[in-house]
């Protein structure tokens, strides 16, 4: 009799302990989820809320980015490039230094403009509020947004006037920083390393082809182009050049890159007038003459 009661009490206490710990665990995860659902986004005067973003995410985004934001939606297997995994908190289009979180505006701009040469459409027909809410919900997937602040925004000085000297100097930057190793000497994405590129998830990836004349991955203006190579596209082979390019040189490079595109830009006219030949990769092996 006594033995049995001991057994029972042991069992009971074990059950209580188990239930208690389970409850604690459940509470912790639930707390975490609730905390994360408090996520907000701030874009100008707009404030987005993750709770309002959730139904929108389920309506618009879930097919590719998946119910838990890991980029494994039902269509992910058919898509190349693959949808972004939001749980990692790593984003290509940022105004912030490599390795830091993007600002809310960066994410807002990205869903508004879509990502060229991928399945990500331009979502700007959605209302501003909807996009802000979506950003809050996208941020809720990654614990990084709860722990870290976005990096400091890259300051871009006003664009100087396009001159012959600048286009020429831009070519020198292009040669010296060896953009051509991947993007090719004429910007056709056929540099010596172009075929070997993989992203951080070991998936093959192509460099941007300037000759296509499409928008860039993160925008279409000169400032967007400036920002792209200065901050780099995280999780891709495209590095940040912010440490080694002065703003003047960066603008020079922008102007030279514009001359590689098929559009009739002033930069292209200058390159034509100067008779600018594509750089000679072998000459690039010589030490810098600057």
């Amino acid at each position: 009799m006594r033995k049995r009661s001991i057994t029972w009490s042991l069992l009971l206490s074990a059950a209580v302990v188990f239930a208690f710990s389970a409850a604690c665990w459940a509470q912790v995860t639930q707390y975490d989820e609730e905390q994360r659902m408090n996520m907000e986004s701030h874009i100008g005067k707009l404030t987005g809320h993750a709770t309002a973003g959730e139904p929108l995410y389920r309506r618009f985004c879930i097919g590719c980015h998946g119910p838990i934001g890991d980029g494994e939606g039902e269509n992910a297997q058919w898509i190349d490039p693959k949808p972004r995994n939001f749980t990692l908190g790593i984003f290509k289009c940022r105004s912030t230094p490599t390795g830091t979180l993007p600002t809310d505006e960066d994410l807002y701009d990205t869903i508004g403009r879509g990502l060229v040469n991928s399945n990500m459409p331009r979502w700007f027909p959605l209302s501003d509020q909807d996009r802000a809410d979506l950003i809050a919900y996208v941020k809720h997937f990654s614990p990084r947004f709860a722990k870290e602040k976005p990096g400091s925004v890259l300051q871009i000085p006003p664009e100087p006037p396009v001159t012959e000297e600048r286009v020429k100097a831009g070519q020198e930057v292009f040669r010296h920083t060896e953009c051509w190793k991947c993007h090719g000497v004429t910007g056709r994405a056929n540099g010596p390393s172009a075929d070997t590129l993989t992203d951080d998830f070991n998936r093959p990836i192509k460099p941007f082809n300037f000759h296509d004349g499409t928008r860039f991955k993160c925008g279409e203006t000169d400032r967007d182009l400036y920002r792209i190579f200065m901050t780099g596209l995280d999780s891709t082979p495209m590095p940040s050049f912010a440490d080694n390019l002065k703003p003047e040189e960066a603008w020079d490079l922008v102007m030279y890159l514009r001359s590689l595109q098929p559009m009739n830009t002033p930069e292209k006219a200058i390159a034509k007038k100067l008779g600018l030949k594509p750089i000679n990769p072998n000459a690039a092996a010589q030490p810098q003459t600057k």
Binding site: G99, H176, D234, P237, N282
Partner: protein
């Protein structure tokens, strides 16, 4: 005025004294700290390491008169295994784990290879990234996503000054690659507390290990990890040897 001065002066004296005590204390403890040494061996035949074709970038190939080989397994004479990082994975007191060496780790890009190919480093230890090559490299460490470290990707054109950075969290190991030169890859092994990296002769040494019982872990990029228990006493180096088996 005087009343303000006085406490400030006392405080300054106290700080100086405290600092002095602290530094002597460290010296004292350093003298009483132990050491772990040992060597790493590879049992069996080491896999063939393919020669690297650097012809796509003449600035790289020109620097080597003889072909350079991949460094996934680097074996010295008598089967000694290089590039194994040995560190204390269990038992380290918090104070020893928190100590960070002041000397920066150098990570050089030379001859379009990483030197070293595997670097050990402490959490928060300065990491100095150097480009000695007449070409542009992009240095692209890729920590496990979702962990405490965040990856980045920076271009370092020829002639750029070195830059320093550090890692926030333990991670064994962070792969590093240069996308421009796809053969360039290496590992940064970020740990807390003393660590050693085996050289070509297979030998390693962990300095400034306080006396105590520990679990040592040896990590190799191809052969994974091994662990051993070790007891360290002051003034007498403990010896631990690891043997990896070739697959």
């Amino acid at each position: 005025m005087k009343t303000v001065y006085k406490p400030a002066a006392i405080l300054a004296v106290l700080v100086v004294v405290a600092l002095g005590l602290l530094s002597t204390g460290r010296h004292v403890s350093a003298a009483s700290e132990g050491k772990v040494t040992g060597s790493i061996k590879l049992e069996g035949t080491a896999p063939h390491m393919r020669a690297i074709d650097m012809s796509k970038d003449p600035t790289c190939s020109k620097q080597h008169s003889t072909p350079v080989h991949l460094e996934n397994v680097v074996v010295g004479s008598g089967g000694s295994l290089a590039n194994v990082v040995v560190y204390i994975s269990q038992g380290l007191p918090a104070s020893a784990a928190a100590a960070v060496p002041s000397k920066p780790i150098e990570w050089d890009q030379k001859g379009c290879m990483y030197q070293p190919h595997v670097a050990g480093m402490d959490v928060g230890q300065q990491l100095k990234v150097i480009n000695s090559d007449p070409t542009t490299h992009n240095i692209h460490p890729m920590p496990q996503p979702g962990g405490g470290n965040i990856g980045w990707n920076k271009s370092q054109p020829q002639g750029s000054p070195p830059f320093t950075t550090s890692w926030k969290a333990e991670e064994v190991a962070i792969p590093v690659k240069c996308n421009i030169h796809p053969w360039m890859h290496g590992y940064m092994v970020v740990v807390k507390g003393p660590y050693g990296v085996s050289d070509e002769s297979g030998s390693f040494s962990l300095d400034n290990v306080p006396p105590g019982s520990y679990t040592l872990t040896a990590w190799h990029e191809t052969y994974g990890t091994q662990t051993q228990k070790v007891t360290v006493t002051a003034g007498k180096p403990a010896t631990v040897n690891f043997t990896f088996k070739a697959k």
